[in-house]
Amino acid sequence: MARTAKKKDVVIVGLGWTGSILGMELANEGLEIVALERGHDQNTVPDFQYPNMIDELKYGVRLGMMQKPRNSTLTIRRNVDEAALPYRSLGSFLPGIGVGGAGTHWNGLNWRPQLSEYRLRSHVEERWGAGIIPEDMNLQDYPVSYEELEPFFDRFEHVAGISGKAGNLNGKKIEGGNPFEAPRSREYPMPPMPVTWDGAKFAEAAKAAGCHPFPSPGGIASQAYVNEYGMQMGPCNHCGFCERYGCYNYSKSSPQTAILDALKRKPNFEYRTHAEVLKIEMAPDGKTATGVTYFDEKAGEEVFQPADLVILAAYQLHNVHLMLLSGIGQPFDPATNEGVTGRSYAYQMNGGYTMFFKDEVFNPFIGTGANGMSIDDFGMDNIDFGREGFIGGAYWRAGQSNGQPIRSMALPAGTPTWGAGWKKGIGEWYGHSMSIGSHGSHMSYRGNYLDLDPTYKDRHGRPLMRMTFNWQPNDIRMTQFMKSKMEPIAKSMNPTSMQEGFKKDGAMYDVRPYQTTHNVGGTVMGDNPKTSAINRYLQAWDKHNIFVMGAGAFPQNTQYNPTGMVGGLAYWAAHAIRTQYLSNPRPLV
């Protein structure tokens, strides 16, 4: 029998970026809040301290900050004809564990989507007609406009502490920034970070080719910074240990550096770690949730936590899993293209060139996760989808993030993978290469979705979630377009040799190599309850006291790293809860 805990006004599932944001915003309303985090507690001191944190084997290779598949994983298949198999060891994507979540171990790249991305279906239909949309693509508009979201992007960027250079201030183009960005109401909180040799070389070549390079915006402090909560960041020292690590220097944006210490001081906020939520419980009428049941790891028992408001703020995959397990929204069925929970899982289509320069020195260990120079000349807004034969876009970036030698050892094609030839190769080429990455959008399809696995169970006896996912021709055409545009720019830099890594026709999803932890969709936001699980305020259509944060809301993935959008949407939803919902709890749409 589950123990029942003292009732709270709000229960928050997961204490990463969105759990911290909602915790702070709702605590400021005077509500009694408990956040439940399935992982451990972790703080900059002592958990991320120098020098123990910058240990490539422990964190970069053995993935010390990531969730343990033994405790939580899913199954994966490429299509409905395949039997799904467990994702037994982490590869393609790396969900985090512990307080701070993925916001602790990310690279810090922070973006706002391009204007066309919020209304992509309408944009395509207006300019080229619905005829260019592939039959199996579930292309949808976001149910909220950029103009509505702008103040919330701005808020998140100023809380998180983002360094960058505006290229469009209230419609006025600013030299040195991104001329293709949507208009922002004010400058970035901090000036951009200085750029390493690889970024500078790329910017020069891109400019010569007629493109418009700008410093990559990121949650890496270029100077001392204090945010609205009184949280402080210190200037980054380019140690080259961002992604997969916690920052020892208070320089990388994270829940720890931006929110948590201020939040923990609030008497009406409490958080419990090692508390894994198993299910969201429903009132007999099925219209609202009554709270959540979680497993208290320390006590070894189940606990029912009653609450008036349930905020799902776990990682995208876990939010979808919990909704499927709890009967929130009709599960998606690819046979009929009906149902909403698990619909439109999407990923990211990335590619790039690596270039080797025999006589140049890059010092690759000098880096940050958001280092370098980017261009948006091949972004969504700038591509004629009708002419090019795909829907999508990409931003490109060159900026080394680390020189950790176990994982970051680019060698020219043909170098042996072991033996004397390999040893000679690493001596000759470590520190003499750079790369340009194309970070591309990924559309949503009928065949890419999430549901419950019929065979495999987790340690609590619950069915694992099942991912059905494969690469699709539209996105492969997009990335091949990027290759054709990038090749001449890479060549113009006169490398000793160069090699490409873009997906080709017929590419099958390989779960082994790390690709990206930009898993999106599954709890899509929309205007129509038949094609979305949550409304424009991230409120579950059929259970009005459940709000669902995170990238699960994306109807299809944007061409950018998702955190900026995730943070903006969290502040947008928090605002709606504060100003519209609390005084009169009801469906807001």
Binding site: N52, I406, G419
Partner: protein
């Protein structure tokens, strides 16, 4: 005189010391600064690997990263010590992984790790299978073959010419991966002895502060590595 199976041949030791005087100097220096210099690798007592397994790991890593040429080999870097320790710990027993059945070990490789075996079990079962193949094909177990034949046998293993059973098909992959890990990981894990591998490629290890060098474009960073425990090389 015949070399002891599994110990690096006297020949390769001689070659290593003759060809890499600079590296030997580094080792001496690191030893001078480290009060508890480890015993010679041939005196190391494995905590996890059985004698025949240890002999194989010594011999195989000595070919995967040989001593000849510039830079340390796996033996000078004490990679076998690293592998023994890793297999004795959480990695060896797949402590973090989801290992529940049913297993489909023969699934397409793109589907990831599907063997029911842990990494340690893969070494334990893979080594005798490979040694038996070497015996049958080349007349001796792997550790007793000459270097050129060892290279040929490892290539066969990498290309799976012996059609190893699916449960063991990641044997070569993890052996090579663990060898490179032991070469480049912080020395506290038993390999990368004296940070020789970091010094060879020019990685400064755990220095962690490069602000003054970001804009020194195309100018080599001048300082050598430090380890997490504060060693310098």
């Amino acid at each position: 005189m015949r070399d002891v199976p599994g110990l690096p041949s006297r020949r390769s030791f001689l070659k290593a010391s003759a060809a890499s005087a600079a590296v030997v100097g580094v080792v001496m220096q690191a030893k001078a600064e480290t009060p508890s210099a480890p015993p010679p690798i041939e005196e190391y007592q494995p905590v996890c690997l059985k004698p025949t397994e240890w002999a194989f790991v010594m011999a195989a890593t000595a070919r995967l990263i040989p001593s000849e040429g510039e830079g340390p080999g796996a033996i000078e870097a004490r990679v076998p010590v690293f592998i023994d320790k890793e297999l004795a710990g959480g990695f060896g027993e797949a402590a973090d992984w989801y290992m529940e059945g049913p297993h489909d070990a023969a699934a397409h490789p793109f589907r990831g790790w599907q063997s029911p075996l842990t990494p340690l079990q893969i070494y334990q079962q893979g080594i005798p299978v490979f040694d038996a193949w070497c015996q049958q094909t080349h007349g001796k177990i792997f550790a007793e073959l000459d270097a050129a034949t060892q290279d040929k046998a490892l290539t066969s293993l990498q290309k799976d010419e012996m059609k190893i059973k699916p449960e063991l098909r990641d044997f070569f992959t993890i052996l090579l991966q663990n060898t490179k890990e032991g070469y480049f990981a912080d020395p506290m894990y038993g390999g990368n002895h004296g940070m020789q591998a970091w010094k060879y490629i020019g990685f400064p290890g755990a220095r962690g502060s490069y602000k003054e060098w970001v804009l020194k474009h195309n100018v080599a960073y001048p300082l050598g590595p430090v380890s997490i425990s504060g060693e310098r090389a």
